[in-house]
Amino acid sequence: MAAHNTAAQPEGGPPARLADDTAQGRTTIASTVVQKVAGLAAREIAGVYALGGGVQRAFGALIERIPGAGTSTTAGVTVEVGEKQAAIDLDIVVEYGAGIVDLARAVRRNVITNVERITGLEVIEVNIAVNDIHLPEENGDGDQAQSRVE
């Protein structure tokens, strides 16, 4: 069998791409899979409060960096998955006090390491947008309810 696509392409559902094509059969990794791995890897880093928030830069995603690759977004993670490569955009909210430059570098490193190891795809870029900072007394998890006088 030649390394050529014959029949039976997408099965419906989320955009999915082949990552491998051999005489023994094709391997397809859905973009949801890459999204989940990237999202979990980003959250692992201390100082990342949340993913998403702010306006997800949906229009930026219209510019395709990998020809023919579908783009999909969930909760601050946008991925484009091609046959051998993936590009990842992250929208993150950082904890107050975290050094953003160092934090972004750590997030990028962890995302690349995990996605490449788990999916076998080459990560060509990880763009990180820090769109908010989380202050400790937001969300009422501070001592809002405590009154100053007894």
Binding site: G25, T28, T32, V37
Partner: protein
């Protein structure tokens, strides 16, 4: 899983299903396509000139040093042990995160 009673013959799709589910990294088969048998349907398995399976993998197992290509190669070998030499297309449709 595969019907063990001899009353009904076990369909090849059910044997493929059992082979795939036996892998520790597989959470379940995905319902993107299915094999339709009398009385039941086997999600995520299609037998034609090519065999196709669609799986949801367990993130926890992958995280502890089992890359997807390795798991897929093992699944492909397990399925080919059941179906013979036909090419096996494997789709990783999703991850189950616990």
């Amino acid at each position: 899983m595969g019907a063990a009673e001899p009353a009904r013959p076990v369909d090849p799709a059910e044997r493929v299903e059992a082979a795939v589910l036996a892998h520790p990294a597989v959470a379940r088969l995905d319902g993107g396509f299915a094999s339709y048998l009398p009385g039941r349907r086997v999600d995520g398995v299609r037998l034609a000139e090519r065999t196709s399976v669609s799986v949801v993998l367990k993130f926890g197992v992958l995280k502890s040093a089992r890359p997807i290509p390795e798991v897929v190669a093992e699944l492909r070998a397990a399925v080919r042990a059941v179906t013979g030499p036909a090419p096996v297309d494997v789709t990783v449709a999703d991850l189950e995160v616990l």
